[in-house]
Symmetry: C2
Subunit: 411 residues, 2 copies
């Protein structure tokens, strides 16, 4: 075909291209190797990278539905739930966060958010933006809420949703969740149409710190792909129980986001009563391949083994940190998150210098605090694939070296 037969508009457009290909894009992609010992993303094992690199199929092919069904079962296992309404979000943990709030809360309804780090702050902001009446319970990072405090706040604010972070990665705290579900379902609600729903964030804790969705009466639970599951970031498992479904599928007005509307997402995941799945959005096919592989690894290993491994390696790391003369930020062992350990910033050191030193000389990533914990802690994450005594030693070596070589200014 000669250019004479090309459409006139194409010919005109061709001669109008006036922004040249950028130099930087004519150079190959460069990615250094890093030991991702921060709070996530963590290193992705070759097996999961390979799964994510498989040639893709269509997001609406029957084989893709099978893969999604597998993912659903894998999440049910990881969450320890029989919930039918189990799926993965096409997005990171924040997408799951917004999805949970957007679908279960209507404008004007009361929401209670416990804040003891950055995640509660985020949920409060999300709920405020969509028009909820937001009440907060606030503790400084590392703090936790007693059953009595929660009971009192629930009674006072009568929320339709109560949010708690199980794995508070910004503070390194694993918050107890026993009994809270009971409080939400029965303690205070008398005449409400719906009891309060219990929403739990387990992005940083899933697979590392024990959590039993059904037994602990969690109504909505979500996590991320890039922590102990070791998949690349970009997908986020979430599950809703019957109570949550009843609330979200009996709304007066539609959720503000079409993309996150569970009416559509439940159909896309084959969780509704319709016989066919309809096109809603294009899911991250490669991301789902990788997520399936990460859930398969957890199923093969077993949840109990994964929990034990995280705890054992964490204990080993904690001891090593204390042996360096450093202090752990969370005093009570049983409240420490085994996946993300927080170290109190040692007196006299500039935490940014310590982190930069480890990155530069050891290719080891650790991070500072996040949100309210900035300037309070250094965070070390050893999750899933990264969770080994070998890696704990590597982290400790880097830390010891940084303490030795970074200038001490005060103290």
């Amino acid at each position: 075909i000669s250019s004479a037969t090309l459409g006139l508009r194409i010919q005109r457009a061709m001669s109008s291209v006036n922004i040249p290909p950028p130099e930087c894009m004519l150079r190959p992609l460069e990615v250094p190797y890093r030991y991702l010992f921060g709070p996530g993303p963590s290193n992705v094992p070759p097996r999961i990278l390979a799964a994510g690199a498989r040639p893709i199929i269509g997001h609406l092919h029957t084989e893709m539905y099978e893969i999604m069904n597998d993912i659903k079962r894998g999440i049910q296992y990881a969450f320890q739930t029989n919930n039918h309404m189990t799926l993965a979000m096409s997005g990171s943990g924040h997408t799951a966060m917004e999805c949970a709030v957007f679908n279960t809360v209507e404008p004007g309804e009361s929401v209670l958010v416990s804040i003891n780090g950055v995640w509660g702050e985020r949920v409060a902001e999300i709920a405020e933006r969509m028009g909820a009446k937001v009440h907060t319970m606030v503790k400084s990072p590392g703090g936790y809420f007693t059953t009595e405090e929660i009971e009192k706040a629930l009674a006072k604010h009568k929320p339709v949703l109560f949010f708690l972070t199980h794995g508070e990665s910004s503070a390194g705290l694993a918050h107890p969740v026993d009994n809270v579900g009971d409080l939400c379902t029965s303690v205070w609600v008398i005449n409400a149409e719906h009891n309060c729903l219990f929403l739990v964030d387990s992005v940083a804790s899933l697979g590392a710190s024990p959590l039993l969705m059904d037994q602990q009466k969690i109504d909505i639970l979500y996590t991320g792909s890039q922590k102990a599951l070791n998949a690349p970031p970009g997908t986020a498992p979430i599950s809703f129980n019957e109570r949550a479904c009843h609330k979200m599928f009996n709304r007066k007005i539609k959720p503000v986001s079409y993309l996150l509307d569970m009416t559509h997402l439940s159909n896309y995941w084959g969780n509704d009563s319709k016989s066919a799945r309809e096109y809603h959005h294009t899911g991250p096919v490669s991301g789902f391949f990788a997520l399936r592989e990460s859930l398969a690894i957890l199923a093969e290993k077993g949840l109990e083994n994964s929990w034990r491994q995280h705890r054992e390696v964490a204990e080993y790391l904690w001891k090593g940190i204390e042996d360096l003369g450093l202090k752990l930020f969370i005093k009570d062992k049983d409240l420490r998150l085994p996946s993300v350990t927080t170290i109190a910033i040692p007196d006299g050191y500039d935490w940014k210098e310590l982190l930069a030193y480890m990155m530069k000389h050891h290719q080891v990533e650790m991070t500072g605090g996040l949100g309210p914990s900035i300037g309070m802690v250094i965070r070390v994450g050893l999750m899933g694939y990264n969770c080994s005594k070998f890696n704990a030693d590597k982290a400790l070596t880097a830390l010891a070296d940084a303490l030795k070589h970074c200038p001490k200014r005060r103290g």
Copy 2:
């Protein structure tokens, strides 16, 4: 460490695991090879799969910022724009769609949406949910809007945002965009604080059908990764010009979504005036690696060559389709989308049977219509990596075989 030193809660939880690992997750991932000749996702070339399979780094590492900067420049080239506010969404095209509407429109403001297929329907729904006053111009699939019609509707509804689909993949139409930007900027607005913004969807057309964001005065443009760019689905390039930035950064109330708030996203992409990038959400690191590679391929090939290639292969495919005795759904060649071709469903055939036959016997995906075009068309997409006469022949062979073997019921 013996189990005796493990926390009590862990020991209790371990003995409480009552949902066993699912059988299906103990079997390996199975993915068949498919010729993805539908409207997308299209096949991902090995080079992009390999980029997406590189060991990841942290989403906030300086090297990641460099990769994001490269992506930004690659998008500027692909869009032919100098817009500083250029980035990629952590999500598919629908995420970009919601982001554009959520940020540039406030509740109660007027939005005009042209609907000639499924994409306008989606934008109208998104804008309605967030509280905009939505006005629509509707044509049946394959129809397009004249300058006069657009001018009249703009004058009547005085919208803050006008939406047009450049690549209407549900109908196979490439909508002309010349002059529309001029109408939006100057024709009707006299006393408004902001002129109307021109929002264009180029998910199915970018890289295939000529589009020059700056020269064609498009205020906001977005696309998807999984069409002519051939990356896996899950990222979506988007760009806002100065006018769009002025509108979205001078809002009275915050956008309803925290996740899609451009105040935060612009910082994450290093596009605001702050010196440091702050944690907002965890971007899809592997997806960004893949997107960078796909933009690099386009930069190497050159936009003009990519447009020419798509047009030439499309012409070849169109001729082959007509030689089979089939009719193209869009009569005017210059209005046909070169990336996605729509075939009128041949008399007497059940389109679902034709598609199933090609999938079963040729591993070739074509699809039916979408939204209003369901039952009207069969869609064949040959995009980017898939765009070759070799693949056109493969598609035609599958089609001819299906026509020969599927039962003819009527006509």
